[in-house]
Point group: C2
């Protein structure tokens, strides 16, 4: 996020083309909107990639989208902290302060699955984290995790390079073009 | 949520059978996991209802799922505060304290759409609220809204009547049956 230094990236596992397009798009858009710098999607998710990039072109960035066919290579090569969001993990409220401290000195990779996640991901993760130990949604888990990680600062970030912005309103919709400076 | 008095319900609009089944299920499961008391789904979402009820049977409640074919009636009849989550609304960080104060005395209905939401919802809402003014996900918006509404207390709630519970672990998965007392 603009204003923090080490990178925060999201790695989306288990994407099944067609069936998971919307969930994967929502993972990527949530990562962007709530302060991550990049999403890496494992699998053939070119539709989701295109949608997320369209939103970034329109409403600003910086935010990057990548596809990978080798997520284990991404995990192995990550020089920093790896978080795996899972309902089986340790409660977020018990580990978030420690994770925030790690982010002061090194980049953070947040792994979210679709269906079943391979056991090697649990083993590679520095923290397996549960946003509750209840089954709900990888999109919801990611959203709460990011909002707590950044302690709400992500809500005030500035966006660069977009063509349009929303003007917050009590009622109704207002979108205005951004003039070149 | 157990421990708060006035009810918090979520109203899911715009469900398209088939296409939206997973998103609607995730809205309902997120509502349940993060402290709402009930989800009301507008439209024919019997598959999502069954999935959410299965999870409640297994992992506990109380949590209710209802279908309605008349969401305007639900909105008109709501005796309490109506929140509409929308990227066009006022920043959550500016209105959350006021909404929390309202919840001390009256129930709260949180409206989340799928696609385009009819203008009468914007007009009926006491607060149109943006979890950022960026496009992302109704599931993410609902999750952050609930976590902020309850100020994290929802993460410590107790569940009643389930047959199983997850035991949080640093690595791996542990689910245990709950013995009858």
């Amino acid at each position: 996020m603009t204003g923090h230094d080490p990178e925060v990236a999201v790695l989306r596992l288990g994407h099944r083309p067609g069936r998971d397009n919307r969930m994967t798009t929502h993972v990527g858009l949530t990562a962007r909107a709530l302060g991550a710098d990049r999403v890496i999607i494992a699998g053939n998710a070119s539709d989701s990639k295109a949608t997320i990039e369209d939103i970034t072109d329109r409403f600003g960035g910086p935010f990057e989208v990548e596809l990978t066919d080798g997520y284990r290579r991404v995990l192995r090569g990550w020089s920093g902290t790896v978080i795996h969001l899972t309902m089986y993990g340790l409660p977020i409220q018990n580990v978030e302060a420690s994770i925030r401290a790690d982010l002061e000195s090194e980049p953070l990779l947040i792994v979210v699955g679709a269906g079943k996640v391979s056991f090697d991901v649990y083993e590679r993760a520095d923290y397996n984290v549960g946003v509750t130990n209840q089954p709900h949604s990888e999109v919801a888990g990611l959203a709460v995790f990011l909002d707590r990680l950044f302690e709400g600062r992500e809500l005030d970030r500035e966006w660069e390079g977009g063509t349009h912005r929303v003007v917050p309103k009590a009622t109704g919709k207002q979108v205005e073009p951004i003039e070149e400076s």
